[in-house]
Amino acid sequence: MKFNLARLRPLLTGSVVVTILAVTGLVVRPLEAPAWDWVRARQPALKLDSIQGALGQGLTVGLLGGFRAIVADFFWIQTHSVWEDRDLPATQTFIKLVTAIDPRPLFFWINGSRMIAYDMPNWRIVDSGGYNAVPQAKQRLIDEEQATIALNYLKEAFNYHPDSALLHVEVANIYLNRLKDKTNAAEAYRRAALLPNGPFYAGRIYAELLRKLGRKQEAYDWLKQTYTKLPKSVNRSLGISEFTVDSAMAPVVLERIRELEEELNLAEEKRFVP
């Protein structure tokens, strides 16, 4: 009898170990589940099908194993190197791969879109014979094509960063600098300015664009409304630093208000009183 028991011992030990582990798993679930939900909520789902081919199995396991940030960083450095070589297809592929791996850092989206919208048109024109050889209309077409790709890319970014003012600024910049589209640029700056973390300059540029678009009353109303909320003096307890006050540029905003009042020919009594 004892002999048989001894023979079964490793099996018995194994069963005991597995059972205790399973019970432990059950018991610690209340401790683990909320923490895991928290971690999970901060990890966007991996779209493996779009990246698996590019990565190979080793790196895919690395990604699944929780090394997303570092794998994305690694590919960003790769992006950087193909960007330096002005390799357009590779740069475009890597830019998308990086954000497919880890869409969380804004840095990737913003710098990726800049490469697409600002650098790639230049490469294409140079590749086609240079600025002197390529006709203006063709250059304009290239700019528009690249800007559209960049805008579509940034549109995807909003899925992960719906409240990012900097993304709106980036969109606005592309409309303004690449497409010379003041209307859409103004709208994007407005959105940026309305967000809690929106930079002060977005609001000022929005007003300036409205002014250039001839919508001076709108610009005037906007600036008045903005001015009242701008920090005007340093207040450490409220977290208002010298830098914040400097970048809010309240006196400049007031100056623009006055200019608009002149341009709108507003009567003295209707003018803005700070």
Partner: protein, 297 residues
């Protein structure tokens, strides 16, 4: 060395082994190897007991069971009346394993100190006690060297020191002289005899039967796990019906005269031989190094 008070009514058994069998599985299908087979044995307190036998006869397995490192398949084993599976059965036991190999990154002192602390030697006494046993085994000069630099003989001696640091009543030495040169062997034998004079019980195993014959009070001989012989050394090897007389060399005529004298009284002169010294003794004499003095501990 502080000698534990030994009850006067000797011999009490330090180790009692009853009907002990130990099987090992040697493959996944459950084929067994019987290392010890129905062994019953008692090691009396205060004696040097030799557990002898060829390689693979079950000596080391028996010792591991005594130390609680292995569990018997059948039967039981007690040390000072405590079942050997229990931790407290090892309180009064010192053990020197076969071909010992210690933490090579520790110095001799650190090593003995480590084991002393594990055995619960009081902190206040620890430093003195460590020095005492290292001195007793004659390693004072090398006490601060890393164990990794020790020779085989030194390892045996530092092993003996760690076995003795908590002043146990029973000391188990597994092949203490294996691989050690005659000088080292003789030194270890001397130390074992000293332990005996201090009232310790010593259980010693060896496959070199002759080597420990001189120091054992009793021996048990194992073969393939079975006990084949057990008893006092004197009774086992001494021939009760004969005597040897050793005299300086006699001329042939006087030898004949002696033979006649013996025959006249009904005795027989069985053999006339040249007494021989043992080779190890000759070696020790030639290098003029007698077994070192262990010193008092």
């Amino acid at each position: 060395m502080n000698v534990a008070p030994v009850p006067p009514s000797l011999p009490h058994a330090a180790i009692t082994i009853t009907g002990l069998t130990k099987d090992f599985s040697i493959n996944l299908r459950g084929v067994k190897l019987r290392a010890v087979d129905n062994l019953t044995l008692a090691v009396p307190e205060g004696q040097v007991f030799g557990l002898l036998g060829p390689n693979g006869s079950g000596k080391s397995t028996t010792i591991k069971i005594i130390l609680g490192l292995l569990e018997p398949t059948v039967g039981e084993c007690q040390v000072f009346g405590v079942p050997s599976g229990r931790v407290d059965s090892r309180l009064n036991v010192g053990y020197l394993p076969e071909a010992p190999y210690f933490y090579r990154y520790l110095s001799g002192t650190e090593l003995v100190r480590f084991y002393g602390r594990i055995c619960g030697v009081p902190k206040a006494r620890l430093a003195d006690r460590v020095r005492e046993v290292i001195d007793w085994v004659g390693l004072s000069a090398a006490a601060h060297r890393r164990v990794g630099t020790y020779s085989k003989g030194m390892l045996q001696r530092i092993g003996l020191a760690q076995a003795l640091v908590h002043d146990p009543r029973l000391i188990i030495l597994d092949e203490p002289t294996a691989g050690v040169d005659p000088v080292g062997s003789a030194e270890i034998s001397e130390l074992i005899l000293k332990l005996k004079t201090q009232g310790k019980t010593v259980l010693i195993t060896s496959h070199l039967l002759a080597q420990i014959e001189d120091i054992c009070d009793r021996v048990a001989i194992l073969d393939r796990g079975k006990l084949i012989l057990e008893g006092a050394v004197a009774e086992l090897v001494g021939r009760q019906d004969q005597q040897a007389l050793i005299v300086d060399t006699l001329p042939a005529s006087e030898l004949e005269e002696l033979r006649g004298w013996l025959t006249a009284r009904g005795h027989t002169l069985s053999a006339v031989e040249q007494p021989r010294t043992r080779l190890d003794q000759l070696f020790l004499n030639k290098i003029s190094r007698s077994p070192k003095n262990g010193g008092q501990a």
